[in-house]
């Protein structure tokens, strides 16, 4: 079973509606990326690294911070932006192939993962 998910293809045509002009922060959209969980880990792709100098403001901040995996909520806290705005920005960066995200895909956490969490906590 695959619990983690990959970010989508940069050229996924069906997601092109997510694109926004580079000068807008979130373009007033608040809903489309609601499915990126707060704890989703974001990491900059090699493509994102190559494009870092070509993007501005918050998007560049995200690409820099996500050179090592960082959660959506952490980006929100450290960049002092509401989590909803981070979601939109990460969603767009993901569509463009500049970042990848990783999170649980199923609503219920399965037994194997629960056991890993339990064992991990015990080792603390």
């Amino acid at each position: 079973m695959i619990d983690a998910n990959q970010s989508p293809q940069p050229n996924g045509a069906r997601r092109s509606r997510l694109r926004i002009p580079p000068y807008a922060v979130t373009g007033g959209r608040t809903r489309v990326d609601v499915d990126i969980p707060f704890e989703a880990l974001v990491r900059t792709t090699p493509r994102g690294r190559d494009h870092m100098q070509l993007v501005a403001f918050e998007r560049r901040d995200i690409l820099q911070m996500a050179e090592t995996p960082i959660a959506v909520a952490e980006l929100s806290a450290r960049l002092r932006l509401p989590v909803g705005a981070i979601r939109v920005l990460v969603g767009d960066l993901s569509v463009e192939g500049h970042v990848q995200t990783k999170a649980m895909t199923s609503n219920k956490v399965d037994t194997a993962i629960l056991e890993r969490v339990r064992d991990g906590l015990r080792r603390l």
Partner: protein
């Protein structure tokens, strides 16, 4: 719908990229004002708890309001959270969220994909956790009630807490101390064990 897509084509192309990213899991820590949520999170977190804000209608709205600027609101709720690395391939996030009913909109969001919830309780203010308990019961989110023993004192026995909250018999009620890493760890383990039992049914 970006992050929930499971696209086999991209996993082939980028598999090596996310393979080294740990899997994030989360536990919700609910409780009333000043009950010790942030202390609880901070006692076990690898980082000092951070604060993030979520806007009310941004999260709660289920209708399509794209482009509708009037749907934006300045009403926000602050959440404190921490992070606990559990080996190289797993990282646990703890999200503290207010336990009152009016923050219910946050819980749909936070409990999605969560291991479960810890309802942190101050026995002098039972009523602060009624909303959270009721919500987690209805949403069938595994939860434990953890009585934060301020200064080592419980003002009610755990059995009184169980009765006062009208809990199902299988819901664990434990005493904890939000300041203590070991007690916090034990409380989280109680929840994970409870979730395991629930998952087996």
């Amino acid at each position: 719908m970006v992050s929930v897509d499971s696209d086999s084509a991209t996993s082939t192309a980028n598999g090596s990229e996310t393979a080294s990213v740990p899997l994030p899991v989360k536990i919700v820590v609910a409780g009333g004002y000043a009950v010790g949520k942030t202390t609880f999170v901070g006692s076990i977190s690898d980082i000092d708890p951070l604060t993030t804000e979520a806007a009310l209608t941004t999260v709660s709205s289920g209708v399509d309001n794209e482009g509708d600027a009037s749907a934006k609101t300045s009403t926000t709720v602050a959440m404190d959270f921490g992070r606990v690395g559990l080996g190289e391939d797993l990282v646990l996030y703890l999200f503290g969220t207010p336990g009152q009913d009016r923050f219910r909109f946050m819980w749909d969001e936070l409990t999605r994909g969560a291991i479960g919830a810890v309802v942190l309780l101050d026995t002098r203010r039972f009523e602060d956790s009624f909303g959270a308990v009721e919500y987690f019961e209805q949403a069938q989110v595994p939860f434990v009630v953890a009585v934060n023993a301020f200064h080592g004192e419980l003002h009610h026995s755990l059995e009184e807490v169980r009765m006062g909250l009208d809990l199902d018999p299988d819901v664990p009620v434990v005493a904890t101390d939000a300041r203590s890493r070991e007690r916090t760890k034990a409380t989280l383990l109680e929840l994970v064990e409870h979730a395991l039992v629930r998952a087996a049914h």
